[in-house]
C-alpha cells in the first residue's frame, strides 16, 4: 500500500497507535507529521490509511490591497530570491512570493514606503543564472523605468548576485536607483535577514540614489544595510548576513534600520545624473580562469576559439612561465585576454617582473583593480559592443561604472 501526500495515516509503532499526516512515501518508508508536530519516518508496512477527517478548508480573507497614491512607484522584479516567502510547515518548503499582494502580506511595512509594480521574468536559483538572463533582466529593468517607476528592486539569490548586478550596471545607463537585494538566511526562520534587507532596499529605491547597487546587511546586527556599488562588491562569506562587502572602497551608502534613513557617500551617483539608455549586447563566448601553481598550460587550450578570456593571476597578475606561450597563441588567434589578480585588493601591474612583461608581450591586457568576475562581465559587454581591438582595450581600461577602485584610470585611458 502506498500513501499520498496529505493523507491522514495511522501508524502502529512501539505498541502505540499514532495519528498523523503523510508527507511522503518513498522507498518503503513513510514520512509522517504527527499531530504533535514532530516528523517521524517509519516503514510503510506499519501504516494504515486513516479515515479522511473533515477539516474545513482554511479560508483566509484576501484583504483588498490599498496602495497609497501619494507614494512613489517602485518596480519589484523577482528572479527567485527569497525576499518575501512563505513556509509550508508540513514539508518545510519555502516558496517565494512575487505578487504585490503576497509581498505586502509578508512585509506590511512596505506599504508605507511606496506603491509597487511586480514582475517575475524567471524564478531560478542564482547559480543557474546566465548572461542571456542578465540581458532579459536588464531589458525588464529598462522597461519598468520607461513605464515610469522611480526605482527598481531586483530580488536575487545571493550566490551570483554580483555578476547580475555588474551586468545590469554595464548594460544600463539609469536615472533612477536599481537595487539588488537578497537574503543569506532562509526566509522561514524568524531571524531571517530577508525582511530588513527588503525594507532597506525599498527605502534605497525611493532615495536620491541614481545607480545600480547591492543592498544587504552591513554587519551581523539588524541595524543597517550597506549599499554596495554593483561593480565593487563581493560575496565574502558563505552564510553570514554581512557576506557582501565593498572591495577597495567604502559602500556608496547605508540605510539605517528600522528607521530607514538613507545616507549616501559624496561619490554616490545621484538620481537624474544620467538619462535612460540601454546597451544590451553581450559577447557570451568569454571565460574566466583562476590560475594555480603547477597548472598544466594545456588548460588554456580549453579557451581556444573564445572571444575573450579573463585570467585571475597571482599577485600583480602572473601565470607561470610555461603558460605564456599558450597565452600568446590565444591572443594571436584573436582571443582578447585580460589579466586580473586573485588578490582581494590592489591593481595588476605586469611591468614589474619578467613574467609580467612577457605576458604583456604575449598580448595580455592589464585589468587594473577590477575584480576578476566583474572584468569577465565587462569583457562580455565590451566585446558585445565593439569588434575593434583598440576600442576594446581602451574601454577595458576605462573606469566606466566604478569598476576600478579609484578614478585615476579614467584620465589615462581616454
Amino acid at each position: 500500500m502506498t500513501f499520498s501526500n496529505n493523507n491522514p495515516v495511522n501508524v502502529a509503532f512501539a505498541g502505540l497507535e499514532l495519528h498523523g499526516t503523510c508527507i511522503s512515501d518513498i522507498n518503503g518508508n513513510v514520512l509522517v507529521k504527527l499531530s504533535s508536530g514532530y516528523n517521524i519516518c517509519v516503514p510503510t508496512s506499519l501504516c494504515t490509511q486513516a479515515p479522511e477527517r473533515a477539516v474545513p478548508p482554511a479560508v483566509h480573507e484576501a484583504e483588498p490591497l490599498k496602495q497609497d497614491a501619494n507614494l512613489p512607484l517602485l518596480a519589484i522584479i523577482s528572479t527567485g530570491g527569497t525576499i518575501a516567502s512563505t513556509v509550508d510547515y508540513r514539508t518545510g518548503a519555502v516558496s517565494s512570493k512575487s505578487t504585490v499582494e503576497d509581498i505586502i502580506k509578508s512585509i506590511p511595512e512596505l506599504a508605507g514606503i511606496a506603491r509597487y509594480r511586480t514582475l517575475q521574468p524567471f524564478n531560478i536559483l542564482s547559480e543557474n543564472m546566465n548572461p542571456a538572463m542578465w540581458q532579459k533582466l536588464t531589458r525588464a529593468v529598462y522597461d519598468e523605468i520607461v513605464a515610469g517607476v522611480g526605482g527598481v528592486i531586483v530580488t536575487h539569490g545571493t550566490d551570483t548576485m554580483l555578476y547580475s548586478a555588474a551586468a545590469v550596471s554595464f548594460m544600463l545607463e539609469t536615472p533612477v536607483p536599481v537595487i539588488f537585494v537578497g537574503a543569506q538566511r532562509s526566509a522561514d526562520r524568524p531571524s531571517s535577514d530577508n525582511v530588513m534587507n527588503a525594507i532597506c532596499s525599498m527605502k534605497a529605491g525611493v532615495s536620491d540614489l541614481g545607480e545600480v547597487v547591492v543592498c544587504m546587511h552591513a554587519t551581523t546586527d539588524d541595524v543597517a544595510c550597506s549599499l554596495h556599488r554593483a561593480t565593487r562588491v563581493r560575496k565574502n562569506h558563505t552564510s553570514r548576513r554581512d557576506a557582501f562587502q565593498s572591495i577597495g572602497r567604502t559602500p556608496v551608502g547605508t540605510v539605517s534600520y528600522p528607521e530607514g534613513t538613507v545616507t549616501l557617500e559624496d561619490d554616490a551617483v545621484v538620481r537624474g545624473t544620467y538619462g535612460l539608455r540601454l546597451f544590451d549586447r553581450l559577447e557570451m563566448h568569454c571565460g574566466l580562469l583562476q590560475y594555480y601553481p603547477g597548472m598544466n598550460p594545456d588548460v588554456l587550450d580549453a579557451f581556444s576559439g573564445y572571444t575573450g578570456l579573463v585570467i585571475a593571476g597571482t599577485g600583480l597578475g602572473h601565470v607561470n612561465t610555461d603558460s605564456i606561450a599558450k597565452v600568446a597563441a590565444l591572443t594571436a588567434a584573436g582571443t582578447f585576454v585580460v589579466m586580473t589578480s586573485q588578490c582581494q585588493s590592489g591593481e595588476v601591474c605586469d611591468r614589474v617582473y619578467e613574467t609580467g612583461r612577457d605576458l604583456l608581450a604575449a598580448g595580455v591586457i592589464e585589468g587594473g583593480s577590477m575584480l576578476p568576475e566583474v572584468a569577465l562581465v565587462k569583457l562580455m559587454w565590451v566585446l558585445g559592443n565593439t569588434t575593434r581591438r583598440e576600442d576594446a582595450v581602451r574601454m577595458m581600461q576605462t573606469n566606466l561604472k566604478g569598476e576600478f577602485d579609484h578614478d585615476l584610470w579614467r584620465g589615462r585611458g581616454e
Partner: protein, 612 residues
C-alpha cells in the same frame, strides 16, 4: 493551605523533564557546552525576530503573541561562540555523543527508538533562540517509569539562551544538548508528580553523564482538573517545589471555576468599551498616574470583589489580568477592588466609577501608559475578563518564587513545528540500538553497596548519589576497603572543604594514592585530609606523608607507650582496666595521624596487661 481530594477533583498531571547532557560539545556546533560568566562576554549581536506565516496562513498563536511588539534583542557572545550560535551558519551534524546518551536513557525506560531521527524546528520568538526556533527531534517512544507511569516520548533538543535582562540574552547556554522526557498525564496527586519527577531524575543521574547544579534540569508540569483546563507550567527547577506548584495550580483552577460560577450567577458581562479617564486624575497624588500620558478605563459589570479575590497565595484575578496587559509593555493595572490605595483617593475612585457609569457591583480597571500601550493592554484585559466567565483558560505559565505561577503565553500548537531543512535524518540501526549498554540505576547501586560492601543504608545512598561516585567505584575496584573509601569521601574530603579546599579540585588519582598509602600502613587513616592538603600545596605524596605524619612503626609505638605507662604505674594499678581510656587519650595525643588508632589500642592493651 487546605489540601484537596485530588482524585475526586479529577486532577491529571503530566511532566516534561529537560535535562542538560554532559557532552563536550554542543548539539549542533563544535563549541564547548559550558556556561560562561555573562559579565565576561566579548561581543554583542542585535536582532529582530519575526513570525513567518505558513503556507496555510497559520501562525502559531503562542509565537504570534510573543512577537506582538517589535523587539530588538541583544545577544551576548564569548570567545567560545561560533557562527551557528548566532545564526550565521548552517548547523553542524547532530552531536553523536548526545544522541548516544539519549538513546541510552530511552533504553533505560524500555522505549522503542525511531529508525530515523528527523530534526525539527520549533518556533520560539521570545528572543531565547537567535534563529527564532529551537531544534528538536523525537528519538524514542513509549516507555515505562517503574510501573507507575508511562513515558510518551523522549526527544533530543538544544537548550535556549539564558536571559540576562529583559531583552538581553546570553548565547552560552544556547545549543547545550538536552534530553526532553514527556510522560503521559498519568499522575493523579501532587505527590505522584514529585515521585515520578524524582524517579526520572534518578534514572538520568544513573548515567553519570548529565549536568548537575541549579538550572541543569527543568521540569514543566501539565496540570488540569475536571472542568478546568490544561495548563503548562514552565521551568520548575527545584524538585522539592514541584508538588507545591501542582497544589497551587489546582487551587487556582478551583478558584477560577468558583469565580466563573459567581459571575454567571450575577449575570456579569464585559462589553469591551474603553474610555479615556485621564481627566479624572489631573490632580491626583498617585505617582504612577501623575506621570502617565494616557489613562484608560473599562468597566467589568458584575465583577466587583472578584477581581480582587485571591486565587493563589498573593495572587488575584486582577494579577492574571495584569499578566495579560504586560504583554503590551505596561507595568501593571489598577482595579477598583484594591482602590483607594497607591495614592488614589476614595474621592477619585467615586468620580471614576461615576464617570464610567459603574455601579457598586461593577469593577473598573484602569491602565496608565502611552495611548498605544494602553489600547493594547486594555484589549488584553478585556480578553482575559471574558475568559473569566468561561472558567480556566488553556495557558503556558511560568513559575514564580514559592510555587505560584504567572501567565506567559497561550499553549503552543503543532503549527510551530516544521522540518529543519539544514540537517539530514540520522539513522538508528537495530545493531546500534542493541550495542548500547545501560548503566546500573543509582537505587540498585545503593542496595548493592549496602549488601556487598557492608555500608549502612544511609551511607550507601549518599555514596551512590554523590558526585564522588566514580571515585568510590574506582577505589573499590583497585582494592581499597569500601568502608574506608566511603569515610574518606564523606569525612576527609569534607574536612578539606571546611578548610576552604574544594573537593572538586582534588584529583581522584591523589585521593586514591593516599588511601593506598594508608592501606599499606605508610600513613594513618586519620591523616588523610592533612596529607591531601599538603599534596595540593605542591608536595609529592611521599613528601606529604613525611612532613605531615611520618609513619610510626609498632616497635616505636611500643617504646613510646612503655614510657607513658611507666610514668603512670600507680594510677593504672589503682584503676585497673578502667585506666585504658584515659591513657589511650594521652598516647593518641602523641601519635594521632601517624599510626592507626586500632594498633595503638592493641599495643596499649598488651602493655597494660603486663602491669595489671
Amino acid at each position: 493551605m487546605t489540601d484537596f481530594d485530588y482524585e475526586a477533583l479529577g486532577m491529571k498531571a503530566g511532566i516534561e523533564i529537560h535535562q542538560q547532557l554532559n557532552t563536550k560539545e554542543k548539539l549542533f556546533s563544535y563549541t564547548p557546552a559550558i556556561i560562561r560568566d555573562s559579565s565576561k562576554h566579548n561581543g554583542e549581536v542585535r536582532r529582530f525576530l519575526r513570525v513567518a506565516t505558513s503556507e496555510m496562513g497559520d501562525v502559531d498563536r503562542a509565537a504570534k503573541e510573543e512577537a506582538m511588539q517589535a523587539r530588538l534583542f541583544t545577544y551576548y557572545t564569548y570567545d567560545t561562540t561560533d557562527l551557528v550560535e548566532i545564526d550565521e551558519q548552517p548547523p553542524a551534524p547532530l552531536n553523536p555523543d548526545a544522541l548516544h546518551l539519549v538513546l541510552m536513557i530511552a533504553k533505560m525506560f524500555h522505549m522503542t527508538p525511531l529508525p530515523q531521527i528527523h530534526p525539527m524546528r520549533k518556533m520560539i520568538v521570545d528572543g531565547s533562540a537567535t534563529s527564532g526556533f529551537q531544534r528538536t527531534a523525537l528519538v524514542a517512544l513509549n516507555g515505562e517509569i517503574d510501573k507507575i507511569c508511562r513515558i510518551e516520548t523522549v526527544a533530543i533538543e538544544e537548550d535556549a539562551c539564558q536571559r540576562v535582562a529583559d531583552q538581553v540574552f546570553s548565547v552560552d547556554r544556547l545549543g547545550i544538548p538536552l534530553i526532553e522526557i514527556t510522560t503521559t498525564p498519568c499522575m493523579k496527586t501532587p505527590e505522584q508528580v514529585h515521585d515520578v519527577a524524582q524517579y526520572i531524575g534518578m534514572t538520568l543521574r544513573s548515567t553519570g553523564r548529565v549536568k548537575r547544579g541549579l538550572g541543569t534540569i527543568r521540569q514543566d508540569v501539565n496540570v488540569s482538573i475536571r472542568d478546568g483546563a490544561r495548563v503548562e507550567i514552565k521551568g520548575v527547577q527545584e524538585l522539592d517545589l514541584i508538588a507545591e506548584v501542582v497544589r497551587r495550580e489546582v487551587q487556582r483552577q478551583l478558584s477560577l471555576l468558583a469565580i466563573k460560577d459567581e459571575l454567571i450567577a450575577r449575570s456579569a458581562r464585559v462589553n469591551g468599551d474603553v474610555y479615556d479617564v485621564t481627566s479624572v486624575f489631573v490632580k491626583t497624588q498617585s505617582q504612577i498616574l501623575k506621570k502617565a500620558k494616557t489613562i484608560l478605563g473599562t468597566v467589568l459589570y458584575g465583577f466587583a470583589g472578584l477581581v480582587g479575590m485571591e486565587i493563589q497565595p498573593g495572587r488575584r484575578l486582577g494579577s492574571e489580568m495584569a499578566d495579560y496587559a504586560k504583554k503590551c509593555g505596561v507595568s501593571g493595572l489598577f482595579h477598583t477592588d484594591e482602590l483607594p490605595a497607591y495614592g488614589v483617593t476614595k474621592k477619585e475612585v467615586a468620580i471614576l466609577k461615576e464617570t464610567l457609569g459603574a455601579c457598586q457591583n461593577d469593577a473598573v480597571i484602569i491602565i496608565a501608559a502611552t495611548e498605544q500601550k494602553c489600547q493594547c493592554a486594555m484589549q488584553m484585559i478585556v480578553r482575559r475578563a471574558k475568559m473569566a466567565m468561561e472558567g480556566v483558560p488553556e495557558e503556558t505559565r511560568k513559575m514564580l518564587q514559592g510555587g505560584c505561577t504567572a501567565y506567559m503565553r497561550p499553549l503552543s500548537g503543532a503549527a510551530r513545528m516544521y522540518p529543519e531543512t539544514d540537517l539530514l535524518p540520522v539513522p538508528v540501526t537495530p545493531e546500534y540500538w542493541a550495542s548500547i549498554a545501560t548503566p546500573e540505576l543509582l537505587t540498585d547501586k545503593t542496595e548493592r553497596f549496602a549488601a556487598e560492601y557492608g555500608l549502612d543504608a544511609g551511607m550507601a545512598h549518599q555514596i551512590a548519589f554523590s558526585e564522588k561516585l566514580s571515585l568510590f567505584e574506582r577505589a573499590v575496584a583497585e582494592g581499597i576497603r569500601p568502608v574506608f573509601v566511603a569515610r574518606t569521601i564523606f569525612a576527609s574530603l569534607k574536612e578539606l572543604s571546611r578548610a576552604g579546599i574544594s573537593p572538586e579540585t582534588i584529583p581522584d588519582d591523589s585521593v586514591i594514592a593516599v588511601m593506598k598509602a594508608v592501606e599499606a600502613g605508610h600513613a594513618a587513616k586519620e591523616a588523610v585530609s592533612e596529607i591531601l592538603s599538603a599534596c595540593i600545596r605542591g608536595m609529592t605524596l611521599d613528601e606529604a606523608i613525611a612532613a605531615v605524619a611520618p609513619a610510626f612503626s609498632r616497635e616505636e609505638l611500643r617504646v613510646l607507650i612503655r614510657g607513658i605507662v611507666a610514668e603512670r604505674v600507680d594510677y593504672i594499678k589503682s584503676r585497673g582496666n578502667a585506666a585504658l581510656g584515659p591513657v589511650m587519650g594521652v598516647v593518641m595525643k602523641e601519635v594521632r595521624g601517624r599510626i592507626d588508632g586500632k594498633i595503638v589500642s592493641e599495643v596499649l592493651d598488651e602493655e597494660l596487661r603486663r602491669i595489671v
